[in-house]
């Protein structure tokens, strides 16, 4: 019973997402000139001002380390936590010490 309910919910979600993906109901793909300015204005800003505000020619690294650097330090913490968690979980059990 739970499975059929889950499967129905899953199909419903997939249907809604496919509707949303339709160009005239929701998301557009491969945007051109004016539409690009309308939808991706922040991307356009980074492309134009990336070099003079951060100095790196690789715009993606400019974003990753300066514009959204706070995300990346969160990212480094996620990596740090997961490694500490994995090593903590794979340590010896208390009975292994006998």
């Amino acid at each position: 019973m739970k499975r059929t309910f889950g499967a129905l919910a899953l199909l419903f979600i997939l249907g809604v997402l496919l509707i949303v993906a339709h160009p005239n109901y929701g998301l557009k793909f491969g945007l051109g000139g004016k539409e690009w300015q309308g939808y991706r204005y922040t991307d356009q800003y980074y492309i134009e001002h990336g070099i003079e505000e951060v100095g790196g020619t690789n715009i993606v690294t400019d974003i990753v380390f300066d514009y959204r650097g706070y995300d990346t330090i969160g990212e480094a913490t996620v990596l740090f936590t997961a490694i500490a968690g994995a090593v903590a979980l794979l340590r010896r059990w208390r009975e292994d010490y006998e």
Binding site: A21, G33, D43, I51, I83
Partner: protein, 120 residues
Amino acid sequence: MIPLQFITAFLMLFMGFYAFLYKRNLLKLILALDVIDSGIHLLLISFGYRLEDGTLPTAPIYTGYETLKGTPMVGPIPQALVLTSIVIGVCVLALATALTINAYRHYGSLDINKLRRLRG
């Protein structure tokens, strides 16, 4: 018509969630987590695509600053988000593997239905 990129992304999502309903092996569930993540990453990256009256866009990297000033460039934000999200996916997988190894030692099997001693 619905662009192919979005359809593939949502189908990967569907496959991932399908595995969670019907598959029982822990390793398959871990892979399903990764499939869901990759589906969302494909969706995010395809938001950054750009088509300026037929000319193909280039990566947002100014190797030669003067030459690339005018050419259309793909949106950089989705790439930064996906970079972060990939590392989060790796971390979740590392932890899931560590848990599965311990579960195998406790239960002797990778079948999630065997992990039923706690009343759900």
